[in-house]
């Protein structure tokens, strides 16, 4: 108890609060900028922490981490441009809400869901970290493969209009994830001999092209007068009681999913957001509402991606295993101060562990503060004339694409994918499943091949493990539910028709 009070008094000093808020601010801004990720920001700012004490340095970085994950949702809602990969699912309902004039409501919900998710993740980290870490270690390649397959079944939620084109789009995304050097044999795949493609298609230009430039093309082809977004009168920046009542189940589910998936090494915030969206849309009475601008479509992924922060800290602190790029950089921040995460951390530096716990809670409220402020001010940007905003968003897209690798080649890639997304959209093939496939593709393939290697080529490995089996059943249920529901609906209609004839 004394350690806890010491930690609280250490974190609640003005200087420490200022450091955390600075980290939050940097995180939120960087998260909102396309092309710059939270891990880049942490890597750039890591040297700044060398001259600080271990607690101060970690507070700065732990402020950036959740702030960056949340910040991505702001650009996703306002510009249909996910600033960070974990915000991909937020664009699906966030941008349609902004188009309906509800940008403030959307950012308000995104902030609240992120705050609650983040707090949930940290509480789990404090209470049952070692237990969850042991569970996470039971995940081998077959379990990861089935988990990713479950993530891919989100197509049923994303492409409710037409599953066939949804699947095609997802397959194209999976193929895009194949581009580059093969991770096992170092054979080049689909690179056309281009050095720039050897490390795969970069996320920034791809997402900017598919979402940002394609949307700009669609907008310019429409009437400019129609582009003027309606902006609601912002009276309240906090979600209404009704919104909270609607979204609470989605937030709770998202928080649990995010924490568990965050604890799995290699999974992370993006997969957590995808699966949370999938489960929420899949279990909804009217899944076809999702993607049209429903507030639960924001609450589910945002609570999950921020809960994954607490989850990701579990293997890091308890086992010394970094599950993502950001936590790998964070390990570096520990080691600079001669502190090694793992079981001994709880024995030798328990005071620091408690400072981290309290710091993460403060950081959650810190980024929420900036989130609510942006809910108030950011939608006002949409009031600007579209003939000025559209070219400036185009500039923002190009700079984001360039910033990914500092190369004009990436601008070319963004243009290519922008035109590509526009053309396939004209043919009725949706874009969001491409991103699902692209994000999950490398994980799906690597774990599929590793599983086959383990089983000597037998597919039964996916049916003999309990976690795999549960994932498989859930995947089938989520995929078949819309088909079953459509048939049921058709049956009811035909029954009604025959009744009316009588």
């Amino acid at each position: 108890m004394e350690i806890l009070w010491n930690a609280i008094s250490q974190v609640f000093q003005p200087y420490m609060i200022l450091i955390i808020l600075l980290g939050n601010f940097i995180g939120v801004v960087i998260g909102a900028l396309p092309g710059i990720t939270g891990s880049m920001a942490i890597a750039i700012l890591l040297p700044l922490t060398f001259s600080m004490s271990a607690a101060e340095g970690l507070m700065l970085l732990l402020g950036i981490y959740p702030g960056g994950i949340f910040g991505g949702s702001i650009a996703a809602i306002l510009m249909n441009l996910p600033g960070d990969p974990p915000a991909v699912m937020t664009t699906l309902d966030g941008y349609p809400m902004a188009q309906k004039g509800e940008a403030g409501r959307a950012i308000g919900m995104s902030t609240t869901a992120s705050l609650l998710g983040s707090l949930f993740g940290v509480l789990v980290l404090i209470v049952i970290a070692p237990m969850l870490a042991r569970f996470a270690l039971r995940f081998g390649p077959p379990e990861y493969f089935m988990l990713c397959l479950f993530g891919l079944s989100s197509i049923a939620a994303v492409a409710t209009r037409d599953l066939t084109t949804g699947f095609i789009s997802c397959m194209i995304g999976l193929l895009l994830g194949e581009v580059g050097m093969d991770p096992v044999f170092s054979v080049q795949r689909f690179t056309f001999g281009q050095v720039n493609l050897q490390s795969g298609l970069p996320f920034g230009p791809l997402i900017i092209g598919l979402f940002g430039l394609a949307e700009l093309l669609r907008q310019t082809l429409g009437s400019l007068e129609q582009l003027q977004m309606r902006v609601q009168q912002i009276r309240k920046i906090f979600p209404s009681r009704r919104d909270m009542k609607i979204c609470m189940p989605a937030i709770l589910r998202g928080s649990i999913i995010g924490t568990i998936i965050g604890a799995l090494p290699g999974a992370g915030a993006t997969i957590a957001a995808i699966i949370s969206y999938n489960v929420t849309a899949g279990t909804d009475k009217n899944p076809e509402r999702f993607g049209t601008g429903v507030v639960e479509g924001i609450a589910a992924p945002e609570s999950a991606n921020n809960a994954s922060v607490g989850g990701a800290m579990i293997p890091l602190l308890t086992l010394g295993i970094p599950g993502s790029t950001i936590t790998a950089i964070l390990i570096g921040a520990f080691m600079v101060h001669d502190i090694y995460p793992g079981p001994l951390l709880f024995k030798d530096h328990l005071d620091l562990v408690y400072v981290i716990f309290i710091g993460l809670i403060v950081a959650s409220f810190g980024f929420a503060l900036f989130g609510y402020l942006s809910a108030y001010f950011a939608p006002l940007v949409l009031k600007a004339p579209p003939a000025i905003v559209t070219p400036l968003i185009a500039v923002f897209c190009l700079v984001g694409a360039y910033a990914s690798n500092g190369s004009p080649w990436d601008i070319g890639l963004a243009i290519f994918f922008g035109v590509f997304a526009y053309i396939i959209g004209e043919f009725g093939i949706p874009t969001p499943p491409i991103i699902l496939g692209y994000v999950l593709g490398p994980l799906v393939e690597t774990n599929f091949r590793s599983s086959l290697q383990l089983s000597g080529g037998s597919l039964t490995i996916f049916l003999t493990r309990p976690i795999c089996l549960v994932s498989l059943v859930l995947t089938i249920v989520i995929l078949l539910y819309p088909v079953w529901k459509a048939r049921l609906h058709k049956g009811i209609l035909s029954d009604r028709g025959s009744f009316e004839k009588l």
């Binding site: 397959m171 194949e178 004339p385 400036l392 043919f427």
Partner: protein, 163 residues
């Protein structure tokens, strides 16, 4: 029987997807051969599975297209003024990418923003110039000064300075 009667988006998309998948299978054979000397699951297996799945789904699209009949309408139409603007956006963006190293970030980005604001009739040229300069300055400050993103300074300035 006129060909136009069957001109359906689903059929055309299905045929293109089948051709694309056949190309993927052909390519996969090549890197399967490159990895043949190693033991393990071939790097061609997964792309081939995906390509076969796309072919099957494309067949579903074609059958559906045949059932639905003619459907050949697009939002892009060269007779409309906005289509020219969209083409200009693509061409201008490509030109921006090509000239970025030569003109440098500040000049190229300012010109890009200025041209499009004026073309879209967002503001008068002088106002557009002020908006462009201010926006590019903010972007430069955030990305370059704060986040250390290296932007090209522009070969043109080196040439003008005689370096």
């Amino acid at each position: 029987m006129r060909f136009g009667r069957f001109l359906s988006k689903d059929i055309v998309a299905g045929i293109v997807l089948i051709l694309f998948s056949l190309w993927v299978i052909w390519e996969a054979r090549e890197f399967a051969a490159a990895a043949a000397r190693f033991r393990g699951i071939s790097p061609a297996l997964f792309p081939t599975i995906l390509a076969v799945a796309i072919i099957l789904l494309a067949c579903v699209m074609i059958v559906r297209g045949l059932r639905r009949g003619r459907n050949w309408e697009f939002t892009f139409d060269l007779r409309r003024k906005n289509s020219h603007l969209a083409l200009g956006l693509v061409a201008g963006t490509a030109l921006y990418g090509l000239t970025l190293d030569f003109l440098g970030f500040l000049l190229a980005t300012t010109v890009y923003a200025l041209v499009f604001i004026v073309w879209m009739k967002g503001a008068r040229p002088l106002q557009a110039l002020i908006i462009s300069c201010l926006s590019v300055a903010v972007i430069y400050f955030v990305f370059h000064t704060l986040m250390f993103v290296p932007f090209p300074q522009g070969e043109i300035f080196s040439l003008l300075m005689g370096e």
